[in-house]
Amino acid sequence: MIVAEQKDITEIVKMIEGCQNILVIGCDTCVTVCLAGGAKEVAILASGLRLALKVQGKEAEVHETSIERQCEKEFVDALKSAVKGHDLLISTGCGIGVQTIAEQFPSLPVIPALNTKLLGLPEKQGVWVERCQACGQCILDKTGGVCPISRCSKSLLNGPCGGSQNGKCEINKDIDCGWHLIYERLKALNRLESLAEIMPVKNWSTSRDGGPRKVIREDMCL
């Protein structure tokens, strides 16, 4: 799941300066589940902005709505009538949602209300941790189901850096050493010998280093 976090409201207040008719658009999928941009947060943000504007003595209207998934053109298109009359859109979707809205409504400025943070899971209610970096070349089969790319601070492929202590990363004592986890897991699976295998240099071109990526499923293309 994509995990995002709401921007500081003061930052959003600055971004909406000069606008008269604002629409806050929520997304009912990932950002609802990570408690950042669902219907509830949209209502709070809209109300907060209305209050902030009134405090500043400005007159502006803030409306709110929410759609199923901001990352689908069809869902965003359905906003057409709702968007009418607004001079600024605020998206509480992830970065993808903001861009879909920007693409579908080229004449309207759209601003993000969230910072898209990571691909991960809730460790417990209210705490989310990273589990994937979308590197485009999954090696979880070799590492006992623990991802060294996202869970090792240095994304090392052939064992720990040597800086870890008591299973914790040298970057921060609160972070588990990814390679320690991999070792423990493989030990439990009785597959430690797989660590002896040297992993070749990773081809990062499937990750961000190759520029913007694209997935094509030829048989599904209409």
Partner: protein, 603 residues
């Protein structure tokens, strides 16, 4: 305000809202505070209000009768009663609505007596406040949605987890009430873990008919057998779904999975015991035992005990009990120690000393037991937290030093002149320890939650308290209920200390189970509704419901997944509605719009 108008002009499923407002003048008393007639005129002009009337005493029988006839004749479908606090007669008025064939949720009380007339510090503020209370009540009731009632058939079976003393007694009591108990035991055989758990309340001391001994167990086991009570041994509960009246319990029975439909669940597991730290710090010796170890010696290894307490030289033997070293369960230790002390004194003519922080006598007949111990000549010393008894072993001699604060006073010097139990010559200062050369030293046990508590807690999804025992829903109001309705707690699994108390517990749990299941069905209001289309399946409500009344699964059989409320388990706090990030959960009687409607300020 808009919402309110919407619903008045047909937003409510097309049927226009017609509101009837009834004033109760509380025997004209209200007229002393404000002009009721003017308030009635004010109410009459609020959009949506179709009928206004007053009565002197709505709460009386004739008043209620009057209300019922007015409700029927007025042709209104929503009602506001302006009078005393909702805590006085709201339920009664709601019942009248129900009798008149309307949903009980279509009523809002405007609290203009306690909330306004009596409470206003300034007379001038009284009338505007009454108007404001009235107008929010009218707006609120216009937005009311019906509270649906759910009736569900309940199972007559009750699962009793843990076949200890409480568990066995529980099953027998439930069987006697005509229910179908199923006893689950983790071990291969039903046999209460430890005889010492039975020992505390012997006949005579407790004045009870029941004699707690191995005979008691044999008799109860026979009773289980005679009544053909179903017993599942080598079994553990692995998963519990559903709510009161209709639990679906998954068990692991001798390696096999078994699914049962159960009406109520009773947890009656037994706690564990551990030697106190003070005892484990000493070198192990057969002369140093725990209370439960002593019970074992008394019942099973009498010869070993005789070797310690009877010798050829006829020297008086000293037995010393040290109590108050463990957290909690002090009453249980007190009773056990008193019983054992009296027995040792009588049987072996030993000199018995009890050093305790506190002798707790708050239980059936424990005071008598204490007096009996005193009459038998048992010596009591008080120890304090900062100067507990110290124990040393030199050349096989166990020496206990007790600092009793009562003996610090000069007048008490003479009191400690017993042979063997003698005032110290060692120190001249204020602290004058009593020194005992004990032949047998007895420590109390530390009582801990059973080893499987954590596991069972996760299966049942109930809370534990700080000590790791099962937590009650409310220690005063619902002392036998866990945080989940339908799951009850009996005996020492939630810290009941001694057997008499535990058995009392069993009786009240049996009655509670009976009252839940005896009618064959449960009727509950659906206080919280979830809009499955909006539900994002984020699990927030599932995790945050304090009563585990929310389940995630197929909303209807074969349909898509979503969160659903178990109305029987829901207690109506609204925490889930407050947490839901998708605004999919609504509390019927406290919807967001209703709360917002109360916030609009009259200008």
């Amino acid at each position: 305000m808009d919402n309110h108008l919407d619903s008045c002009t047909g937003g409510n499923n097309g049927i226009p809202v017609k509101i009837g407002v009834f004033f109760c003048t509380c025997g004209h008393m209200m007229n002393d505070y404000f002009d009721v007639k003017a308030l009635m005129d004010y109410a009459a002009q609020v959009p949506g209000v179709a009928f206004v009337d007053e009565n002197r005493f709505l709460c009386t029988r004739s008043g209620l009768e009057w209300l019922r006839s007015k409700i029927v004749r007025s042709g209104c479908n929503r009602f506001v009663i302006a009078g005393c606090s909702p805590h006085q007669y709201e339920v009664r008025f709601m019942n009248v609505l129900e009798e008149a064939g309307l949903n009980r949720s279509f009523l809002t009380i405007a609290n203009i007596r306690e909330g306004c007339a009596w409470a206003c510090a300034d007379k001038e503020g009284c009338m505007p406040k009454a108007r404001q209370i009235l107008s929010s009540a009218i707006k609120r009731v216009a937005l009311a949605k019906p509270l649906e009632k759910v009736r569900r058939k309940v199972e007559s079976s009750a699962l009793v987890i843990g076949a200890g003393i409480s568990g066995i007694q529980m099953a027998i009591e439930l069987h006697g009430l005509g229910l179908r108990p199923i006893l689950v035991e983790k071990q291969e055989k039903v046999c209460p873990k430890d005889a010492s758990f039975m020992n505390p309340c012997t006949q005579g001391a407790q004045g009870s008919d029941e004699v707690f001994s191995s005979g008691w167990i044999t008799q109860k086991l026979k009773e289980l057998d005679d009544k053909k009570i179903e017993i599942l041994t080598s079994s553990q509960v692995t998963q519990v779904k559903g709510g009161p009246g209709a639990f679906r319990v998954t068990l692991e029975t001798a390696g096999q999975e078994k699914i049962l439909d159960i009406g109520s669940i009773v947890v009656s597991t037994e706690p564990e015991k551990r030697a106190v730290q003070k005892m484990t710090a000493l070198r192990p010796s057969h002369r140093i035992v725990s209370l439960s170890g002593l019970s074992d010696l008394v019942t099973r290894e009498r010869r070993a005990l005789e070797q310690i307490l009877v010798t050829a030289d006829k020297r008086t033997k000293y037995v010393c009990f040290i109590l108050g070293e463990a957290e909690g369960f002090a009453k249980r230790s007190t009773v056990m120690a008193l019983n054992e002390a009296i027995a040792l004194k009588k049987q072996f003519k030993a000199e018995v000393v009890i050093a305790a922080r506190d002798i707790i006598v708050s239980g059936t007949q424990i005071e008598t037991l204490y007096q009996k111990a005193r009459q038998a000549g048992i010596l009591f010393f008080r120890s304090t937290e900062d100067s507990g008894p110290t124990v040393s072993i030199e050349k096989g001699v166990i020496t206990v030093r007790i600092h009793d604060p009562a003996l610090d006073r000069p007048s008490a010097k003479a009191a400690s002149g017993n042979a063997g139990v003698c005032g110290s010559q060692e120190s001249e200062g204020a602290a004058r320890p009593v020194i005992i050369h004990a032949d047998l030293l007895v420590f109390e046990d530390e009582i801990l939650p059973g080893e499987d508590t954590e596991c069972l807690k996760n299966a049942l999804r109930v809370n534990l308290n700080k000590g790791g025992f099962y937590q009650e829903a409310n220690i005063h109001l619902k002392p036998n209920l866990s945080n989940k309705k339908g799951i009850f707690l009996a005996g020492s699994c939630h810290g009941k200390e001694e057997t008499c108390e535990a058995l009392g517990d069993v009786r009240s749990v049996a009655m509670a189970v009976y009252s839940t299941l005896s009618r064959g069905y449960l009727e509950t209001e659906q206080k919280v509704v979830i809009d499955t289309d909006k539900c994002a399946l984020c699990l927030t409500c599932f995790r945050s419901c304090p009563h585990q009344a929310i389940e995630i699964g197929e909303v209807e059989l074969g349909q898509k997944w979503g969160a659903k409320v178990i109305p029987e388990a829901c207690q109506g706090c609204g925490i889930c509605a407050g947490e839901c990030p998708a605004k999919a959960i609504e509390m019927v009687h406290y919807s967001d719009n209703q709360i917002f409607s109360e916030l609009t300020l009259e200008r």
